[in-house]
């Protein structure tokens, strides 16, 4: 390898699937594979991190109560915060993302995901839950000022058994490819993972004696 190669882009896939094996994790895997393949086709080196929220479920609850993350959870938070692209996958529970999924993003600083390209994806028992992607997940990441990609991917149970479309509608693999292409294009130009963030950076207008009444 040449010494001056650009550092690998950092891609993170988060799965809030609970069962093992999990169809949510399976969807996250498929999306990650497709995104990595697309980036490789573009000649972009990429490093993939998979995060199962199940593994840090207790840590997330503790963080909600104590205000700090365990070492293991902090690694997951740092990985997501410093990524060039995120694949966020959750099962749909009771008309929305799962509580675990939401809690994970609740313990991340609300400025940490600014500008992060996010591919949103979800699984559910029937396709009738698919709008949760647009009425719940998209606003969540919009609030965090992440950059949510236009294509989101919903996989109902029946999608795992549908082949090439007779009816001309795109199948799950088609949608995965299209979404992965959008994410790969955004990741390829992202500089987020190489930016150095100063946690002590003060606003340029800040003065330790204040703007008023100062001598």
């Amino acid at each position: 390898m040449a010494e001056n190669t650009t550092p690998a882009k950092k891609l993170v896939a988060v799965s809030a699937g609970l069962s093992q094996p999990s169809s949510t994790r399976l969807l996250a895997d498929r999306l990650a594979e497709a995104t990595v393949a697309d980036l490789r086709d573009r000649g972009v080196d990429v490093e993939l991190t998979m995060i199962d929220l199940r593994d840090v479920a207790n840590d997330i609850t503790s963080n909600l109560m104590t205000g700090f993350a365990s070492t293991k959870l902090q690694e997951a938070i740092d990985a997501v915060s410093n990524a060039d692209g995120l694949i966020a996958t959750t099962p749909i529970f009771t008309a929305s993302y799962s509580g675990l999924f939401k809690s994970f993003f609740d313990v991340i600083d609300n400025t940490a995901l600014t500008g992060l390209p996010v591919l949103i994806a979800a699984t559910g028992g029937t396709p009738r839950h698919s709008l949760a992607l647009d009425h719940a997940m998209r606003p969540l990441f919009s609030y965090l000022r992440a950059s949510v990609l236009p294509t989101s991917v919903f996989a109902a149970t029946e999608d795992w058994g549908s082949g090439a479309a007779d009816d001309g509608f795109p199948t799950l693999p088609d949608r995965i490819r299209r979404a992965a292409g959008e994410l790969a294009a955004a990741v390829a130009v992202s500089k987020r993972s190489t930016e150095v963030k100063d946690p002590f950076a003060l606003d340029s207008s800040f003065s330790p004696i204040g703007a008023y009444g100062a001598q």
């Binding site: 609850t61 503790s62 909600l64 109560m65 104590t66 205000g67 700090f68 365990s70 070492t71 946690p199 002590f200 950076a201 003060l202 800040f206 003065s207 330790p208 004696i209 204040g210 703007a211 008023y212 009444g213 100062a214 001598q215």
Partner: protein
């Protein structure tokens, strides 16, 4: 180095017998605990300020005034004084008064408060938390340091020709610590004034505070108050002891499991590993506390939280006996032996008098230097031929 205790003054049900002290019992218990601190040889007692249940200490100087009368050597402090919602004029007067009452055994720790509704209850806006802390403290400093103050700010009515009364004892304001758990602005403020920075790291992993204290130290040096390792750092701590570890864990677990803040959350074992909480033998407390010095550098003040989560008064007093007899003497010896000569000891009224005198002397020298430079420049400018390249600008004289 100074060792002491701080209390938040929570009224919490004892989970082992389901009894809850009354407000009166808890207030009296806090006063007993403060006197016990002196009896067992601790240096500092710091009292929280809260205006919401389940906390009782809403009027710290009233309680500290009582403790002042009952003690001889104990240094009285706060943990914390709400610089955001209190009128700085009242803080200036209350604590200058306490200085006189307690013969100088007073300092303060500024904090922004941990409860949102307290801001609107006192007519303030929580979104202005940092600007309030900055402006109110700037005014507080002037009220203590200057005899007559003309002042206009954003958050309170202007002052014309105001003198806060009484004047600080011996003309020297109480030492001030600034407490913060995450805001670099507050570390910057502490550094700017050459004040202390207190990191109450009892609920957080040490790495977080390591960075914050390092930042404060670096900025303290930047503002010319001394070297980074001469900055004034204070740390929180939380311990529960028994002769042997297993008994300590067994006795403390029900209190931990039901405590405010972290109860019903992480396990005692996880929390002990992730935060400075130490539940074990006095030797384990000594060993753990000594690691704080390795992590944060030589520091000036160590305060322990001993009386929360519903622990009965009797148990707290036993804990203080152990802290005073079995832990602090060893810590004091070890910490003092390791601290280099150029690093200051914990701040006292006497050390503040000396520090302010040194500061005034340094200012006099600087002023004299400037005057003689001006005079020299004036003399030079009368000559027909300038000597060398000696322009005023080269000597840093403005407008030369």
């Amino acid at each position: 180095m100074q060792f002491g205790i701080f209390t938040v003054g929570d009224v919490t049900t004892d989970p082992t017998n389901n009894t809850t002290p009354t407000e009166n019992e808890r207030i009296k218990a806090i006063l007993t605990i403060a006197q016990k601190a002196e009896e067992v040889g601790l240096d500092v007692f710091a009292l929280g300020e809260h205006h919401n249940e389940p906390f009782v200490p809403s009027s710290p100087t009233t309680m500290l005034g009582y403790v002042a009368a009952k003690t001889e050597n104990l240094l009285l402090s706060t943990a914390t004084t709400l610089i955001t919602t209190n009128d700085p004029v009242k803080i200036a007067e209350d604590y200058a008064m306490l200085q006189h009452v307690a013969d100088g055994r007073v300092d303060l720790m500024m904090g922004r408060g941990n409860t949102g509704p307290v801001y609107p209850w006192f007519g303030k806006d929580i979104r202005q938390g940092i600007p309030l802390a900055i402006e109110n403290y700037a005014l507080l400093r002037r009220l203590w340091d200057e005899e007559v103050v003309d002042w206009e700010g954003k958050f309170r009515t202007p002052l014309q020709g105001f003198t806060s009364t009484p004047r600080p004892l011996d003309g020297v304001a109480p030492f001030v610590w600034h407490g913060s758990i995450r805001s670099p602005e507050i570390a910057e403020q502490a550094a700017y004034y050459g004040d202390g920075f207190f990191a109450n790291h009892i609920f957080w992993p040490k790495e977080h505070f390591q960075r914050l204290i390092a930042y404060y130290r670096q900025r303290f040096e930047h503002y010319g108050h001394g070297r980074a390792d001469q900055a004034y750092a204070g740390l929180g701590g939380q311990v529960f002891m028994a002769k042997n570890s297993q008994d300590a864990v067994k006795q403390f677990r029900p209190y931990f499991d039901n405590a405010p803040v972290y109860g019903h959350g992480p396990s005692l074992e996880d929390f002990t590993e992730q935060t400075p909480l130490t539940v074990g033998s006095p030797q384990e407390v000594i060993d753990r506390t000594l690691t704080f010095r390795e992590t944060f550098g030589d520091y000036q003040r160590q305060l322990f939280l001993m009386d929360h989560a519903g622990l009965p008064l009797k148990t707290v007093l036993e804990q203080l006996d152990m802290l005073g007899e079995l832990v602090v003497p060893t810590l004091r010896k070890e910490m003092d032996a390791k601290r280099p000569a150029h690093v200051p000891d914990g701040p006292t009224h006497q050390s503040q008098i000396e520090r302010m005198a040194a500061r005034a002397a340094a200012k006099q020298v600087a002023d004299a230097d400037e005057q003689s430079a001006v005079a020299a420049e004036a003399a030079r400018s009368t000559r027909t031929t300038p000597v060398g390249a000696g322009t005023g600008a080269a000597f840093g004289i403005k407008g030369a």
